[in-house]
């Protein structure tokens, strides 16, 4: 079953674009898109996910929301703690580096989330729209929990500043802005914007993943310096967190698609909000470790193999 889901996932345009760009970069071929496109596409994708989520939020009953919200909050606490424990014990990292890296695993990757949505849509699975709102919750909570682990050691003076950085950062603001737009305007009145925010979405995601393939492959080259323990944990942590996310999703009563997406969120590692926050709050932690783990290892693993595995977990549990 997993093999066929993996093939279905692989044969979507965004994932193939990611693989092609990654391979091209590894052989030092230049496939990089013009730089301003990165900023335009990431803003577009976040806004589009937000609008989609806000629109679905307007159509759902508030009674359906509280259990998934509690599940997301619980995941935001459990996933960084588990990552921290593994990074300390198995990864043999010191407290500061373990907390810095755990912040990335506690937080989430909006791009991984988006690829999961596109994959599920392609395979005909419906997904609860309000999950985009949970994305915003998880993005912040995981970072807070992990930074709190390091704060005990008195090393993070920039901690409130780092949190404000995340909350006021472009990714959360665009996502929440999109949610408000989607919720306020409503399903029917949003129809005129569909050609831009719905029809072009997968195409834009494909373009974006070309850029991500380049960036991830560049980070993969640094994996040797990070050590094999980090490489192994970059795969083990998302699998463990993904399993917990799938369990949480089914307990919260989500559909199979929704459970797969929540599992993907739990498994994903942030590489935009968390690095910026951690850089400020824990400047002595090594970016070579946490960026390599989240962007060089976990992100490609999730996009290529992880998402189908989380979908299989969801199918077993729901």
């Amino acid at each position: 079953m997993i093999a066929s889901i993996i093939v279905d996932n692989l044969l979507t345009a965004p994932v193939i674009a990611f693989v092609v760009a990654g391979l091209a970069t590894l052989v030092r071929a230049d496939i990089r898109l013009p730089e301003p496109l990165y900023a335009v596409l990431s803003s577009y994708l976040l806004l589009a996910i937000g609008i989609k989520g806000g629109r679905a939020l307007g159509l759902s009953e508030s009674a359906e929301l509280w259990r998934p919200l509690i599940a997301a909050l619980a995941l935001g606490i459990i996933t960084p703690l588990l990552a921290f424990a593994l990074l300390r014990r198995v990864g043999r990292l010191d407290t500061i580096n373990a907390a810095a890296t755990a912040a990335h695993y506690g937080s989430v990757s909006a791009v991984t989330f988006t690829v999961a949505l596109a994959t599920l849509e392609a395979s005909g699975q419906s997904v609860e729209g309000f999950l985009a709102g949970l994305l915003a919750v998880l993005e912040v909570v995981g970072i807070v929990v992990a930074l709190a682990l390091a704060r005990d050691r008195g090393s993070s003076d920039g901690w409130t500043e780092a949190l404000l950085e995340v909350i006021r950062g472009r990714s959360i603001t665009l996502l929440l802005g999109g949610l408000v737009i989607g919720l306020a305007v409503g399903d029917e009145r949003l129809a005129p914007t569909d050609p831009l925010f719905v029809s072009l979405f997968t195409g834009a995601l494909t373009l974006f993943l070309v850029e991500m393939g380049v960036v991830a492959a560049e980070r993969l080259r640094d994996a040797r310096d990070a050590g094999w323990r980090i490489v192994v944990l970059g795969i083990v942590i998302p699998l463990a967190n993904g399993a917990i996310g799938a369990a949480a999703g089914s307990l919260a009563g989500l559909s199979t698609g929704g459970t797969a997406v929540l599992a993907t969120l739990a498994a994903s590692a942030s590489y935009i909000a968390a690095p910026a926050a951690v850089r400020i709050a824990l400047p002595s932690a090594s970016p070579g470790l946490y960026v390599t783990a989240s962007l060089g290892i976990t992100f490609p693993f999730n996009v290529i193999l992880g998402i189908p595995i989380y979908l299989a977990m969801a199918q077993v549990l729901t």
């Binding site: 400020i280 400047p283 090594s286 962007l295």
Partner: protein, 99 residues
């Protein structure tokens, strides 16, 4: 027109510090600044978060006292852990009260 000596401070730093450095030089007495975005490599290689955006070049013309305060702050808070370089060159300006 007569000219007066001031110092031109240039700081090149990783992208994540942009707003912090602006706040820093203004708080310590700089009256203005310019920001540019640049790429490159330093003694420790490229900035670790270079995918987050190009590095920042902050330029500001200031008095000797402000330069000293900025260098002290950089040495205390930024040089140890961040990709930051800074240097000063003397310049001559008209209208010194603007700097």
């Amino acid at each position: 027109m007569s000219s007066t000596e001031r110092q031109l401070l240039t700081i090149i730093a990783e992208a994540v510090l942009e707003q912090r450095l602006i706040d820093l030089v203004k708080r310590l007495g700089a009256k203005g600044y310019s920001i540019g975005h640049v790429r490159g490599e330093g003694a420790t290689g490229r900035a670790a978060l270079d995918f987050a955006g190009p590095s920042v070049r902050l330029e500001s013309v200031m008095t000797d006292e402000v330069v000293d305060r900025v260098f002290e702050a950089l040495a205390a808070d930024y040089f140890p852990h961040f990709a930051v370089v800074a240097w000063v060159v003397p310049v001559r300006v008209a209208r010194p009260e603007r700097f």
